[in-house]
Symmetry: C2
Subunit: 211 residues, 2 copies
């Protein structure tokens, strides 16, 4: 398969391989080279919002649309992280913070791999989102506030979690007995009780194209 001129240059500039040396001096392949063959700017799209606000739905359609454009993506969410990498973590405050820390670090590795990483976690605390942001270059990180009124989220309750939380069966549930700190200056603010999923995803695609 032919490399693009860009990738070819990126490789040549970082590789000096001596033919006969057991330990050739190979400067590592880096984000530039990995992203170049993907013809894209790597990025982390960080979706934050209450349970039921629509994060996973938006992430799913966003990834599908990006794949349709030939973009190379990965979605990180509770489904593929909580049952694997973070299976040792519970839901205490400390464990929830560690959960988000690891997710942010994995998203960083994904972006280093040249991918567009789409992260969908409630991530209720400003400090943990600020930590996530700190791992990236400014042009790589897009904080997206997936905003819906708590009453609407309780009405939707797609997983029946609010019903349980209101009965006291789930302690520390965000929006019920644990705080959600809304983003102050997110790159994108989506209002899922006013805009359709399709409109929200369209706005994210436009924002991504501008990055």
């Amino acid at each position: 398969m032919l490399l693009t001129h860009h990738a070819d240059l990126a490789m040549k500039s970082r590789a000096r391989v001596s033919e006969d040396n057991l330990f050739p001096h190979v400067l590592p392949v880096t984000q530039v080279g990995r992203a170049a063959i993907k013809h894209q700017q790597p990025a982390c799209v960080w979706l934050t919002g209450l349970s039921g606000s629509g994060k996973s739905t938006i992430a799913g359609l966003l990834e599908l649309q990006l794949l349709g454009q030939g973009r190379h993506t990965y979605s990180l969410d509770g489904d593929n992280v909580r049952c694997g990498l973070n299976r040792d973590l519970g839901f205490t405050d400390a464990d929830r913070v560690e959960n988000i820390r690891r997710v942010a670090e994995v998203a960083r590795l994904m972006v280093d791999a040249g991918l567009i990483a789409i992260v969908s976690f409630i991530s209720p605390f400003r400090t943990e989102r600020a930590f996530a942001r700190s791992l990236f270059m400014p042009e790589e990180f897009m904080e997206v506030f997936v905003d819906a009124p708590i009453a609407e989220c309780i009405r939707r309750d797609p997983k029946g979690l609010y019903a349980k939380a209101i009965k006291g069966q789930i302690p520390n549930f965000t929006g019920i007995d644990s705080v959600y700190e809304a983003p102050e200056v997110p790159e994108v603010h989506l209002r899922t009780s006013e805009e359709s999923t399709r409109q929200c995803v369209e706005r994210l695609l436009v924002a991504l194209a501008k990055m």
Copy 2:
């Protein structure tokens, strides 16, 4: 950008988007779709061996060669994992096991993202490598024994770690006062004191092409 017919089919088979529903039923993009636009079979290449056996050198050249073939790769090693995701871990036995567990889980996510993940860690224990293997389909996982006699590794000592370990300055150092359990049936057995780096990488490329 046009999708290949393969990727297009893979997407269509998994997506049913209702235009007007706030929560459209979007079946998630999966490994098949992500890998299809990369025109490759995702895989985890797991390099195990003593410190100084040549894992990082081989991984670096392997990734460079794969990039040159237009393959989408990522390297996981101490450099990008120990200082980020696993910065909370030390070098006790428990922490070393947790280190490898997380690396294996991240490699699984990378393969799920459609990438060829190249893992370079001493990973001295059979049980932890068996755990890593258990996360993958048989055709996705390639255990590579990067084999060099301990005397040769001590002679090379590229980071000066053996000198310190022999003086007792680094406890639990693999090969000195902590065991290395050699793979019994690795997919590939490289002998870096007999083969050049280039020969080793060539054999890995052949083995990968057969997967």
